[in-house]
């Protein structure tokens, strides 16, 4: 048995493998003591090899994990688990977004991460949803229901929030504002993808890949198909578990 734990900025994810079979995935909020939360996640499993990834990886290594890999490598392995031919991966998590390019053998040859702010990440969408009074689960479908968007110029979370307030007070429908906010994120992500000279189908991982509006707008923007794994938020944990398996043999 091998376990991968992804200690992300907003959520902790765990993937458990018995041999080549993925037997369990769990997710909880990161909370204030992420490594203790993580220990809760796996304590019902027999002792085994644990590989950590994500922001909290070094803390986990200090406390319980056998080793660490970065989110970049973890998502590369996780994406290949779902799509063995994957060459370009977009991962959008709570606090950062990355574009990763692999060679045919699946090795990372190039990657980019967003700047040090929350623009183009899950956190941006979360704050914007709250400012319009939606839950995160409602936010994407609402955006999809609108046919035209209001103009949003700012990608800075703080400035965008004031734009949202101003649009609301001009009577612009919430669905139009929601669509504009999604589009702002998508154009940012598409910019990162284009810099990477991606030509193969894009695999989209991370919690934001659950958002139907982002997927739809991204496909429109790139003019190509976007592949989403069945468990996009667990791709990092799955990659870490697969690495645990590889490095034990």
């Amino acid at each position: 048995m091998n376990i991968g734990i992804d200690l992300g900025s907003r959520a902790l994810k765990m993937a458990v493998f018995e041999g080549d079979e993925l037997v369990e995935c769990r997710m909880v909020e990161s909370g204030f003591n992420p490594h203790q939360q993580a220990e809760e996640l796996f304590k019902s499993f027999p002792p085994c090899r644990i590989m950590a990834t994500g922001y909290g990886r070094h803390l986990a290594h200090k406390n319980f994990a056998n080793g660490v890999i970065t989110e970049i490598k973890a998502h590369a392995l996780g994406a290949r688990y779902f799509f063995p031919e994957a060459m370009t991966i977009l991962d959008v998590g709570g606090q950062d977004s990355k574009v990763i390019t692999l060679n045919r053998e699946g090795k990372v040859v190039n990657f980019q991460m967003n700047d040090k702010c929350a623009a183009g990440t899950g956190r941006f969408l979360e704050i914007m949803a709250a400012s319009l009074g939606f839950t995160l689960a409602e936010f994407g479908p609402i955006a999809l229901s609108s046919g035209h968007e209001a103009p949003i110029n700012s990608m800075c979370t703080v400035f965008a929030e004031s734009e949202v307030i101003s649009l609301k007070n001009h009577g612009v429908p919430a669905a139009d504002i929601a669509r504009a906010l999604h589009l702002a994120v998508v154009s940012r992500l598409a910019g990162m993808i284009r810099r990477q000279e991606a030509n193969a189908a894009l695999v989209f991982t991370g919690g934001v890949a659950r958002n139907p509006a982002i997927i739809s707008l991204l496909q429109e923007h790139l003019g190509s198909e976007v592949l989403v794994p069945s468990l996009p938020e667990h791709a990092g944990a799955i990659g870490a578990a697969l690495h645990a398996q590889m490095s034990s043999t």
């Binding site: 970065t70 989110e71 090795k107 040859v109 990657f111 991460m113 040090k116």
Partner: protein, 429 residues
């Protein structure tokens, strides 16, 4: 870890009209950072003791030497750039010191006056003078600036209000007419130094000074060659520190101490001993200078278990890779040889500057590195744009490559750590 303290000299600081109370806090913070980042390293060469002492005395011992020199009527010149011909200062029995400009602590002082969206090195330097928190700035007779970028060029005009600032024009191309301009600038520089010192520089004095500075460059070249060994005999952090100290230490003593260190490193190399294990990944850094105490990238890379084996940078090989031809006692020929040497510096302020791309690839091979991290300070447009050519050359050669743009603030350290670790995973394959 041994007890380490940067020694306080409050009386000397008062004499230099410094903000003593504030500066003393900075001194303690720097001492703490130095202990944590440098003294905690394993397998440091014994001869690093001298450089540790240089840091312990950074705000005292060396400053006393500068103050003493001034009392003797010798010129003390502050500089910011590898284009300032220090041989000429030395020939007039003067001292050239690189000034403070590598810390985030002085940036708020600068932002009271300068625009925020300019290079952190320029802001930091200006802030050190504005806040009276750099004893070197307080001790110099004047600052010699140059025209290598717009931020510096225009800041000199404002800095001149706080400390006399003279500017040497560095052309932006390398045609024959640029060389003609340059040699005129070198002659003006010499005239300025002669005016300040009240001495006429003789060919014998210039020959002797050239020999001394060439000696410093040779010692640093020797250190660079030794770093090519695997296991690396010295950490990148320690080597960077030495390259930083090269800008303010007395050149004859400094070269002797670097050579002593190299003697020790030769023994290490012969015995296959290193500061890092042989399996450590080897990384080369290329790009903008890392002024003391900017150890951010080196600290992140080496904390992740890799070793930095070369700095292709102004605080690095660009400072010492070229020597001045010696052997003539004719002043015009000497100044021509000096200008030829300074014209070979491949700063990104030049266009075209393809020799830098060639140099990066050469140093990559010479240092037996396994990957390149390009480092550019925020708002350093010339290095940031030239990065495109370095990246393309690395792609063509199949060299693992990571580009980082950063400033002095610690707020991107978490993100950089992830990027650097992912890069090392990529190098490992």
């Amino acid at each position: 870890m041994q007890d380490f303290e940067i020694k306080p000299y409050p009386e000397l600081w008062h004499e230099l009209d410094m903000d003593v109370e504030r500066f003393d806090k900075a001194r303690q913070m720097l001492g703490g950072a130095y202990s944590k980042i440098f003294l905690s390293q394993n397998n440091r060469p014994q001869a690093m003791a001298y450089f540790d002492e240089m840091i312990a005395e950074i705000f005292g011992g060396r400053i006393k030497e500068l103050v003493q020199a001034k009392k003797e009527g010798r010129p003390v010149v502050g500089t910011f750039c590898v284009y300032i011909p220090e041989e000429i200062v030395l020939a007039a029995d003067g001292i050239c010191v690189g000034l403070c400009g590598g810390s985030p602590g002085s940036i708020p002082d600068a932002e009271k006056i300068l625009p925020r969206n300019i290079c952190p090195m320029v802001k930091s330097a200006f802030g050190f003078k504005a806040g009276r928190i750099c004893p070197y700035f307080q001790a110099v007779d004047f600052v010699y600036g140059e025209t290598t970028c717009d931020a510096k060029k225009k800041t000199w005009e404002i800095l001149d209000r706080l400390v006399p600032t003279y500017v040497m024009e560095i052309p932006q191309m390398k045609k024959e007419r640029d060389r003609a301009l340059w040699i005129e600038e070198v002659k003006d520089f010499k005239a300025k130094i002669e005016e300040i010192s009240g001495k006429t520089i003789s060919p014998e004095q210039l020959a002797a000074a050239t020999k001394v500075i060439n000696g410093k460059r040779r010692a640093l070249q020797r250190l660079t060659k030794l770093r090519a060994a695997n296991p690396a005999p010295i950490s990148g952090k320690d080597a960077l520190l030495i390259e930083q100290i090269a800008f303010y230490d007395e050149p004859v003593r400094f070269a002797a101490k670097v050579n002593e260190l190299c003697d020790e490193l030769e023994v290490r190399v012969a015995k296959s001993e290193g500061a890092f294990p042989k399996s450590a990944l080897r990384v080369m850094v290329s790009g903008t200078p890392m002024a003391l105490p900017n150890w951010k990238i080196h600290n992140l890379v080496e904390s992740a278990g890799a070793v930095i084996v070369n700095e292709e940078s102004c605080i690095g090989t660009r400072y010492f890779k070229d020597l001045i031809a010696e052997g003539t006692e004719d002043l015009d020929q000497q100044l021509a040889a000096l200008t030829d040497r300074y014209m070979r510096i491949d700063c990104s302020c030049f266009t075209p500057n393809d020799e830098r791309v060639t140099q990066v690839l050469k140093e990559y091979k010479d240092s037996a590195a396994q990957g390149i991290i390009h480092y550019s300070l925020q708002f350093c447009h010339t290095y940031n744009i030239e990065e495109i050519k370095i990246r393309e050359a690395c792609q063509q050669e199949g060299i693992p490559y990571l580009s980082i743009e950063s400033d002095y603030s610690p707020d991107d350290v978490g993100q950089l750590q992830t990027r650097i670790e992912a890069f090392l995973e990529q190098v490992e394959g």
